[in-house]
């Protein structure tokens, strides 16, 4: 069984058996072991160690300090069962004893380098667990510029490794169609690189694969809000396109099943007036009220030819279109009834694509002939979520 465990990622931890012993080591002692571990193979010359850790001391004092720290380490970390020392030091060089049996996160990570694609998800997962935080978190040595530089350098190296590792894990999950796990890893990645659109795009794709449309939309909206809030910019056109497609698919669907994808269709309750002997009065009132209460951006995306036909019986169509698009909506001087009826039916079906349309006819007994026929036709279609009744 391994007696000594050393973790240099995150808060420094030295465990001997069940006991934590890092508090028995000085900061420079920990720094000394870290340096030797980073140079496990060849060790480090005493001169170099002094330049890392006692550059501001005179030569004799520096040499003494190094000796003292080596002695202290030897005292804190005893010899192994074979009687071998943890650190081997001679007149010129110091190195960690490769035969001394101990475990270290850094050494495991070093042995893992550049092999992500060949490893299994389990192995990658184990490696991920070794990243408990930044290299030597909380360590800073005053007047040890070179050593502090070393810490910064190692932090950069290991942060990049961690990102690479997470990307490799996410890719493996994606390839294996394990999208929920993939999302989890991508979320962790997004935590490290919150403005990386590539990560968000991968997350959206994973949600889409799972059919979790509402989660995908929420994910995009959150990203968009954080870009705006933190950097005051918008997502790229490319990502917006993905989002628009996302919105398009479930919202345009007339299938009742779209509700199961997490979208809540808005209910539009409309009461319309009827007037005898005025052709299209009732249906024109319905169109006007839909325009007033509905999403105009969506409504006026309806085919312009049909909108122009509707404009013949309801001027709000042309007025609204002009306000939104800044261009004219033609006003016909005459139209055959069949064109008006067809435009009305298509318009109501188009609106019903995104709304649960509930229409109540007030004074239904006074409905005009043309509107009545259109209403009857719509009722015969038995369209889901389109309810027309007399009030």
């Amino acid at each position: 069984m391994t007696e000594l465990k050393i973790n240099l990622m995150g808060r420094v931890e030295f465990k001997y058996g069940e006991k934590n012993i890092e508090h028995k080591l000085s900061n420079k002692g920990i720094a000394l072991i870290s340096l030797l571990m980073l140079h496990m193979k060849n060790g480090v010359s005493r001169e170099r160690l002094i330049s890392y850790l006692w550059a501001d001391s005179d030569e004799e004092a520096a040499k003494y300090n190094l000796r003292y720290n080596l002695w202290n380490i030897k005292k804190v970390i005893p010899t192994d069962e074979k009687g071998q020392d943890f650190i081997l030091a001679n007149k010129d060089y110091c190195r960690l004893n490769q035969n001394y049996f101990f475990e270290s996160d850094i050494l495991q990570l070093m042995s893992f380098e550049n092999q992500e694609t060949e490893r299994s998800i389990e192995e990658l997962g184990h490696c991920k667990q070794l990243f408990r935080g930044d290299f030597l978190e909380g360590v800073y040595l005053k007047n040890c510029d070179e050593f502090n530089e070393k810490i910064i350098l190692e932090r950069i190296v290991y942060q990049n490794k961690y990102v690479k590792l997470l990307k490799a894990i996410a890719e493996k999950y994606e390839t294996g169609s394990q999208f929920e796990e993939c999302i989890q890893i991508l979320s962790e990645l997004a935590g490290m690189e919150p403005y990386n659109e590539g990560i968000i795009q991968s997350k959206l794709n994973a949600y889409i694969q799972l059919g979790q449309w509402s989660d995908a939309i929420a994910c995009y909206k959150k990203f968009e809000a954080s870009l705006r809030s933190d950097l005051n910019v918008s997502p790229s056109q490319k990502l917006k396109l993905v989002y628009n497609k996302l919105l398009g698919k479930p919202q345009i669907s007339t299938q009742k099943a779209s509700g199961s994808s997490g979208f809540k269709r808005q209910k539009l309750d409309i009461e319309v007036q009827c007037a005898e002997n005025i052709d299209y009065f009732c249906i024109a009132d319905l169109i006007r009220k839909i325009i007033l209460r509905g999403d105009r951006k969506y409504i006026f995306q309806f085919n312009k030819c049909y909108l122009e036909d509707l404009n013949f019986i309801q001027l709000e169509v042309g007025i609204g279109y002009e306000r939104l698009h800044g261009e004219k909506c033609s006003l016909r001087t005459w139209l055959p009834d069949v064109r008006i009826a067809d435009a009305c039916i298509r318009f109501i079906l188009y609106v019903n694509d995104i709304y649960d349309l509930h229409v109540s006819l007030k004074n239904a007994d006074k409905i005009d002939q043309a509107s009545s026929q259109i209403i009857q036709y719509l009722k015969r279609l038995k369209i889901a979520d389109l309810l027309i009744q007399e009030s």
């Binding site: 800073y140 810490i151 950069i156 809000a225 705006r228 809030s229 005051n232």
Partner: protein, 558 residues
Amino acid sequence: MRVIEYEPALCYHTVKIAKIIGKTGLNKTVLPKRQENQMHADLLIKNGKCLCVANDNVYDWVAVTGHKISGLGYREEYKRTFDRIHCTIDANGNTVLPGFYDSHFHLVQTGLDSLSLDLSEATSFDDIGDLIKEQSRLTPEQPIHAKGLYPYNLKEKCFPSRTVLDKFCNDVPVWVTSSDFHISALNTYGILYYKIPFTIGGIELDSKAMPTGIFKKQANVILRENILKNVSNAHRLEAIKGVLDDAVKHGITTIDTMEGGFLFCNKDAELIYDYKDTFPVDVNLYYQTSDILKVKELRLPRIGSNPFIDGTLGSRNAALNYPYIDDPDNIGELYFTQEELNEFLVECYKNRLQTSLHVIGGRAIELALKAHEHALNMTGNAGLRHRLEHVELVSSSQILRARELGLVFSMQPTYEYLWGGKGRMYEARIGEHYRESNPLREILDHGVVICGSSESDVTPIGPAMGIHSAVNHPVEEHRIERMEAIRMFTLNGAFAVFEEKKKGSLELGKLADMVILNKDIMKVPKEQIKDVEVATTIKSGHILYHTNELCLGVDDHD
């Protein structure tokens, strides 16, 4: 005794009505109808020039019972009206006003900055070094947060790197931010102390691919967030306390504070949300975010001035209609497309949220106006008193369109005092166009309501300075009358947050938020308005601040 009663005036639109009523009520004491006989007052301010502000009435005294104004009148009529007066203040003929509004403020940032080391006067790395060394001596073992560094002012014309900062201090983390918060620098200790994400963009590297300690863009945002979110709420509250004390000394009884969002920290907004009821003055939170859902969840009726539609003139990124004089290839930046802003405002209108958009240059103002026109057309939801913040370079036609939309302009007259006029920053940036900045006269003449503010700590706290700057605008045709300037910081401020029915003027039944000045502000030479000080600040009938200059007497019967 004739009693005049009328609804509290509605800012600009009803000022005229109030004026008419005011004429009929001139020299008449105003008292509650049902308490016409004898009643008691907790506080009486007498011998003052009590400006109603909602109309032209100038009363001699104002009485307070409980939290509200219980009487206003002339000469010594209060003796007949009140059988008991607990406390009397003699205003010595000086002005008494409604408590001031500061309608655009950064409360937490002002507080934290007040506890930070100020580098705005530094002109070289040596200056920075001296200041940091001194701070290190004064607060040993404490991290140093230094603000306000303007690299163009430095002899070296660049930001100090970590190796430079290490020479000044290497035993505590040092964090230096630029005056516009867009750039940060850390010493080596700081890099190792604060959690730095090295995989993100915006980290400046040296020739050896090592971080120089200078952070921009994304890296700066994350660094700021990491540092600011680790500032404890206790520290934040301590910082705010100092600012509120200062605000009270300047007569401010209501603050509209913009918190959170771009280059700020959302924890600031959350703190204000949680603690605003514990502050001595009223604080209205504008959460700076584009997250409408979050604002709705918090049941806030308004959303803050983030998004910024453009930048600032100082940083040369306000979106102008012409190039900058000192940067001819640059016309500034728009941070939104028309489509994006349209979409955002439509959602705000649908949710009936009052918005406040940061706009400075003509192009940004145009973008905002078009988006408001679009949102109003799409939703028909009017009457939300949406605000445009700063609006420094607005044109005549834009003012008219803003009036049609019912927009309120939230402006900072002190900008003109600091940067306006010949030979100042505005001229350096936009040349002769400096004559067009902050056209207060024209805006008021066209009927747009302006609420005034300091945007602390961009300019110093102090409505008197704001009033002074509006009255003494460096461009003569943009100057406004004293009473108009006072309204910017009182009644119009209340109007901008739908509080004009309970605050913003000295009227019967309104909250007793009042200020006694140490002079008659209507009579001091206009060049000296900025020197007028606050002698007493009263919030909801409670005296929060009082100098010894005035006579304060406690009496059971006056």
